[in-house]
């Protein structure tokens, strides 16, 4: 009785320790986040080129006011196995001020500034002169953990979203618009897992940042401060877990069970038919 009590006390102690450690980690994570005030509110300004692109997290809605003709850039992180969907909504200026149809386009580039194809979705949308909004969607290919250097496959890292007008009446240039961009993704699971993994995600400036932090630990801060595009909320996946382990292990288990079953069926009790029991 006393033994079980001691064991229970020990288990309770360790449970409390684990909980306090976990809550300390959660509290540290929760405090430094002044921008994410609402449940899904994102940045309110957009960048104008790759190096000034505004960082965006998946699930956040970014808004920005701009003039027709501006190029708006955001950057979001995507990890291996995710299939990202970028949706953009543009609220056009009043139709009384417009002189014709406008065609808006959303493009996605990966961390190496290579243009990524949109599998599905209306990437280019035309709004008639009296339309109030235009909505665009781009569904990207599933991100792979590794790819050959000669392939254009999407790799884990930053992805840039560019929203701009590609065709319009010249008199409509410069009119104010409001834009809204959101990125969501689905995890494709084990069927998209590939072998190998990158040592660092495809984030431009990742090696300069490391160098800068190494230098900062040493003497002076680097003269070229590099802003990284941000990482996913849970950090980049380490890449060793895949559901294929479960599938293969499950297959092996079933094979073993089927083998035992087959053996018992044909072996029976090991007695041939024509020998009577007791012989």
């Amino acid at each position: 009785m006393s033994r079980t009590r001691r064991v229970l006390a020990g288990a309770l102690l360790t449970g409390l320790a684990v909980l306090t450690g976990a809550s300390a980690a959660v509290a540290d994570d929760a405090s430094p986040s002044p921008s994410a005030s609402g449940d899904a509110s994102g940045p309110t300004e957009a960048g104008t080129t790759f190096r000034t692109a505004t960082a965006l997290q998946q699930g956040e809605t970014a808004t920005a006011g701009a003039s027709t003709g501006d190029y708006l850039y955001w950057v979001f992180p995507a990890d291996a196995g995710q299939r990202a969907t970028v949706t953009a909504k543009v609220t056009l200026p009043e139709s009384a001020a417009r002189h014709g149809a406008q065609t808006w386009q959303v493009d996605v580039y990966d961390g190496l500034r290579r243009r990524q194809a949109c599998m599905y979705g209306k990437q280019t949308g035309t709004a008639a002169a009296d339309a109030a909004t235009v909505e665009l969607t781009c569904v990207l290919r599933t991100v792979r953990a590794n790819a050959e250097p000669w392939a254009n496959d999407p790799l884990p890292g930053s992805y840039y979203v560019r929203l701009t007008v590609v065709d319009l009446a010249q008199a409509d240039l410069g009119l104010p618009v409001r834009t809204e961009v959101e990125v969501n993704s689905k995890d494709q699971g084990g069927s998209a897992d590939v072998d190998g993994s990158l040592s660092k995600p495809l984030v431009p400036g990742v090696s300069s940042a490391e160098q800068a932090s190494d230098d900062a630990n040493g003497t002076d801060a680097s003269a070229e401060p590099v802003a990284l595009a941000g990482e996913p909320e849970d950090g980049w996946s380490s890449g060793w877990w895949t559901s294929r382990l479960l599938w293969t292990a499950g297959g092996g288990l079933l094979a073993a069970l089927a083998g035992v079953f087959g053996y018992t069926v044909t072996r029976g009790r090991g007695r041939p038919h024509h020998v009577p029991p007791g012989a």
């Binding site: 450690g21 003039s67 003709g69 410069g174 084990g190 190998g196 900062a216 297959g251 083998g259 044909t266």
Partner: protein, 421 residues
Amino acid sequence: MIIRRRLTVGVGILLATLTAGLGSALPASADETPTQASPKVELVLDVSGSMRTRDIDGQSRMSAAKQAFNEVLDAVPEQVQLGIRTLGADYPGDDRKVGCKDTKQLYPVGPLDRTEAKTAVATLAPTGWTPIGPALLGAADDLEGGDSTRRIVLISDGEDTCGPLDPCEVARDIAARGIHLVIDTLGLVPNAKIRQQLTCIAEATGGTYTAVQHTDELSGRVKQLVDRAAEPVVTPVATKGADSCTDAPELKPGLYTDREKFAEHRWYKVAVKPGQELRASVSVFADRAVNNDYGMLLRAVTTHGREIVRGSESGTGRTDAISSGLRYPKPEQDEDEQTPETVCLQVSNAFSAPASVKTAPGMPLELTVDVVDAPDEAADVAAFGLGHGWWLLGLLTLTGLIVGLLFGWISRWRIAVWRTR
């Protein structure tokens, strides 16, 4: 018993220290905002005679601009050094030569004294000509010095009246001087000519153009542009690529900027050790009116001319830039000495333009270079060579069943043989 009790308590303490240590180590997002020189913004305001026109919210353009400036001066962030320059504010006469030099600095670029600046703006009255080109040159001189980000915000309501100096060419030359200058333009109640000129100026420097019809649009937009200047961003390092790999500059990981004309190649060098991966990406910016179809090519080449990998892109239609990139993972070598390989990067573009468009200075080019560790090699297409899916389960189960049946028969036959012996 005592040993077990000590054991549980000991394990509990160990786990507690481990989780506490993990808890403090986990949130590691390095949120270092880089400290850099304070950004400089110069507002260039058109005070020419045409600003008397009353077509913005029922008041004159000049009073709308003054009202907007008051709001902007109240909202300038602390770290921004602001200056104000006017054009056409002094000379009301008809002598074009004198009128086209009429640009002066109203408030010097520096830490902002809001009352002083507002008083200076209040004294303005619409007067003379519209020398946009000379005003931009003056503004660029005002912003000289240091290596902070620079922005000129030009607010104008009429096209430049001081040809043949084309303000668009002036803007491009200023931007090419290598002082990281962006010019944003705002047109007050613009017509086609002024829109064309202001759009050209903005595109030549990577800025934006806004058409303003209302006072609140003007103040809101200028505030947004000033805030944009205050955002901390990475500043690229100016470099100059060569015509061939042997003369090329050796680049360390970082962000670089250069200029490239049509049909010109730029070469750079990067040292890559075995077991490292080179990542390079290039954007070529279309800062002038180019033809509808364009392309660019980035090649990684050995010093002997063998192409390793390339990234290329082509496009059509309205764009600000065309970009591509490449990755080159260099495999590990077994030797003890890790001699770095010199990889040559060649950047070429396929832009073209009508004959009326000047080819010099070249188009801006932005190059990112990163060198990281090489990736883990892939031994198989699928993760660790493992399988996935119901077909796999079915096949494994079927194989197991068949093998089991087979062994069962063999075992039964062997026993039968044993028994009958």
